[in-house]
Structures are given as C-alpha cells and as structure tokens.
C-alpha cells in the first residue's frame, strides 16, 4: 500500500465569535490516497470546515492546530500564504456548491477556466484557450466554443457545476475536494454531474474528498465514509460495510433513510444523545 497522499492527524479548528472561541473541528484524523472518501454530516458538524482548512481558506481569526497536516512532502500547517498559493489549484483543488454564486458574474466562463490554468502554467493565451475548450468538452458540454463566451448567469445549474469541475480540474491537481457539489442542483441533474466527476477522477487517478449531508449519495459514490458529528469523526468505515456501522449516530442516520425494500409505517427520527458531543 503506497503512503497516502494526504495525512490528517488530530485536527482542531476554532472560530472567533462574539462569545469566545467556538470549536468547529475537534480532533479529526483521516488519510486519503487515490480513492474516493466521503465526509457526511449535518449542518454544523464541521465537514465543510475540514475541507476548507485543508486549503487554508479559513478566516484570519481562526485557530488551526493538528499533530499532522501533511500533503505529500508539504506540511500544510506551517505553510505560509505564498506556499499555499502554489498548492491551491495546482495540487489540491475544490469544487464549490452553487455555481450561481461561485462563479464571477462579470467574467466569461471560458476566461475563468483559462485563468485557472494560466495561474500555474505559463503558456500563451491561445494555448490556454485551446486547453479550456478541451476541458469544457471533457465535462461533456456540447459546443464548447459557444459556451466559452457565455456569462455565468446564462448557463444552467448543471452546466455551471460542470464548468466549475472543468475549472478545478484543468490545472491537473492530485486531490479534489468536492464541497456539496450537487446540493444546489435539481435531483434529475445530480447523477449526470456526478457521473462526469466520477469519470474524470477515475481517468486521472485523483484522490477525492466528497463532502455532503446526503448519506445515501455518499455511500453509493464513495469507497470510504467518514461520519462527522459536532466536529468529531464518529465513524470511519468502508462504504460497503455501512450497514454494520457501530456508532449509534450512524445507525440512527441509516435507520431514518426511507427504503423501498424495507417499508416501515413510520420513519424513526434520530434521537440525539448528549454523550456523542464529548469523547
């Protein structure tokens, strides 16, 4: 087994708030290789924070601590802003949730994708444009020439998210973090976008961290699942083994999922145990 590309050990993140420092992430540990890892949790569980912290995108007032936050040979914890600018996009990339907001409204989408490439590779504009058109094609958008010149408000949700994928894949990173990539999309579009993402991740041999609140989605898409609650990892299990989950929170989540096979008169509601917060 090759050494995993990403190693996170005992990660703690605190945010500054009006009432003092608030724990968002409390002692999270995991590793990531060339695989698809899912991080599942409800709002406030800290899952998005983990993703953003990996790219050091947290606010200036946040406090980040870990025994280890290692990507390849780079110590992410001690890396300064300049070093991080080399990592972001080029080596670790992130797909954001809603293309309505995550794309620059006054810039053509093609230019935005090309920019992602030009930041890290010094090529001519024509070369960048060509690569962009290839990338737009790779995410299965027809008529790349026409789409290149469009503005974000002119593209549909599914197309916008594929453009986001294109933008984040074009600099050829090794790890992709997908922060709720399909949550803002119509249900019918979700599978299409996921299929595009899946293909590209497989073709390029990337590591993927898939952050979501949708357990069902994650268990079918990823090979391993991390369940987070109140800033901690309560379950770290292979997707295939989910039905044998140990932690009551995970069991509760699974039990509350509706299923066509297992029809119940009433769906159980998750009962929270305060002991889950402290460990």
């Amino acid at each position: 087994m090759t050494t995993p590309k990403l190693q996170v050990e005992d990660l703690h993140v605190q945010f500054a708030s009006e009432d003092g420092m608030v724990d968002a992430v409390r002692g999270v540990s995991f590793t990531l290789g060339q695989e698809k890892l899912g991080i599942v949790g409800e709002s406030g569980s800290g899952k998005s924070t983990v993703g953003r912290t990996l790219l050091k995108l947290h606010p200036r007032t946040a406090r980040v601590n870990a025994t280890r936050l290692q990507f390849d040979d780079i110590d992410l914890l001690s890396a300064d802003e300049k070093a991080m600018q080399q990592v972001r996009g080029r080596r670790i990339s992130m797909i954001l949730q809603d293309p309505k907001y995550s794309l620059n409204p006054v810039m053509r989408v093609g230019d935005q994708i090309a920019e992602a490439f030009l930041v890290h590779y010094s090529v001519s504009r024509t070369e960048a444009r060509k690569r962009t058109l290839d990338m737009i094609d790779a995410v299965r958008i027809r008529d790349p020439e026409r789409v290149y010149n469009m503005y974000p408000h002119e593209v549909s949700g599914g197309m916008g998210q594929r453009i986001m994928i294109a933008m984040m894949m074009i600099p050829e990173p090794e790890i992709i973090i997908a922060d709720e990539p399909t949550s803002a999309l119509d249900v019918s579009i979700r599978l299409q976008v996921l299929s595009v993402l899946d293909d590209l991740v497989r073709q390029r041999g990337l590591g993927l961290i898939f952050i979501s609140h949708d357990l069902n989605l994650v268990r079918n898409f990823c090979s391993r699942v991390l369940v987070m609650y109140a800033g901690q990892v309560v379950e770290n299990i292979a997707a295939a083994d989910l039905d044998n989950a140990q932690h009551p929170y995970t069991q509760g989540l699974l039990a509350s999922l509706p299923s066509l096979d297992n029809r119940r008169h009433r769906l159980p509601v998750l009962q929270r145990d305060p002991s889950w917060i402290s460990v």
């Binding site: 500054a16 608030v22 724990d23 406030g44 569980s45 917060i277």
Partner: protein, 300 residues
Amino acid sequence: MTATSSSLAHGGDAPRSHWAALLDNSKRTLRRILRNPLTTGGLIVIALLVTIALFAPLLATHDPLIQDLNNALKGPSAEHWFGTDAFGRDIYSRIVYGSRITLYIISLVTVIVGPVGLTVGTVAGYFGGAIDTVFMRITDIFISFPSLILALAFVAALGPGLDHAIIAIALTAWPPIARLARAETMTLRDSDFISAIKLAGASPLRVLVRHVWPLCLSSVIIRLTFNMAGVILTAAGLGFLGLGAQPPLPEWGSMISAGRSYMVACWWMVAFPGLAIMMVSLAFNLLGDGLRDALDPRGE
C-alpha cells in the same frame, strides 16, 4: 478562555412578536455597539452635546448675548477661554449656548423627517399603483437635486430665520428616508409571512405598523443617524450664508461668518465654532458607522 461546543446545542425561546424581536435585537445591538471604541466615542460626544445644551447656564462663563466693546477681539485667555468676538462677547459661552440651537435643529428635523419618511415610504411601497407613482415623481424632484441648494432656495423663499431653515432642511431630508422605507417595504411586501398575515385577516394598517415598520426601523435609524451629520453641516452652511439663525443668536455657522472679516488677525473667532460643528458631525458619523456595523454585520 473556555471554548463552547459547536452550534448544535442552542435552545432559547422564539420572540413573540416583531416588536419583541426588535427589543431583543436592540439589546444585543447595544452591546455590540459599545464594543467598538470609536462608536462609543461618538455616543459620548453626543451625550456631551445634550448635557452641555441642557446645563448651558451652568457651564457658560459669561452671558452669550451681552456685548462688551472694550473687550472686543481679544484672544484666548484665562478670562475668555476661546477669546471674544467683534462685540466683545465670550466665544466659549456662545458656543455652549449654541449647542442648544444645534440640538434644537437636530431634534426637530429627526422628529419631522423620521415619522413622515417612514409613513410615506411604507405606504407608497405597500400599496403601489398610483400612490406609488405620484410619490416617486415627487421624490424624484427632491433627489435629483443637491440638498443644500434646494434648502437654500426654500429658505430664500421663506425668508431667513432658524425655523425656516429647519423647515427647509426637513423638506430636503425626508425623501431619501422615504425612498429607503419604500424599498424595504417592497422587498417585504411579497414575502410569505406577510401573505400569511393578510390571509389571517390583518388590515393594511396592522400589517404596516405591527410587521413592516419594525423591520424597516433599523435601516431607517442608521440612515437618519448619518443624515444628522449632514443636517448639521447644512444648517451650519445656511448659517454661514446668513440664512439660518439670525444674529444675535449664537448659531455656530453664523459665528464663523461673523468672524470671517477678522479671520487673519483673530483666528479664534473662526476656529472654535468650526471645531464644534466638526465634532458633532463626526460623532453622528461615528455612531452611524457603528450602528451599521452592529446591525448589519459581515463576518470575517
């Protein structure tokens, strides 16, 4: 500092009406305001203004109106802290009494502009249609014009004098407030909760007063506070041009105008009233800034 657990464990009762929610928010806002040193500074200055105005007779060293031609144009001294003017009147005392005029102007303008602007704006925004169109046309005229010049024209038409100046200023100050209230109302008018209240049978008056107004209030207050800073400057400008409070009233703007001819030799006649004006205007701007930061926070 102990860290609190993540946001999952928060309880608390929901407020029972929009006014109750407003009160809750106000308390929290006040705490946030006071946390900012600059804003607190502004509040202190305003409080100082009110105090000085109220206790003017106790704080002044001389009578502001009595002339003493032997002592005219004397510089700052132990006897006359800010010096004397062309008629030998003590400038410090005149500034102290002038604070009453300033307070008078501010209060009157707020009392007129606030309710009028809020009412007209929310009515226009809520009912729309012809009422709204007429309203927009009227306010267009005022907004498409620099307020000082319009106020100038009004005062020139009404005749110089403090009360006329106040009317003129109020006339130019209410349209922006009304427009703001209108904009807020229009955003709210189509929201689900308003529809729900209307379905429950609320009359338009009830909808406006109990529900729309509390929600508009914070932006209107912020805008009013900023406006006060401008009102002070406009009033001073009118006074400077001779159209505001008439002599011998110790209005700060007219004091500067009076000191103009002697300015080179007697700088104190111009410097001190101007500083007073600036401090009050600054205070309102600081307060407005702080209010806006507190009521409309953007996280780091």
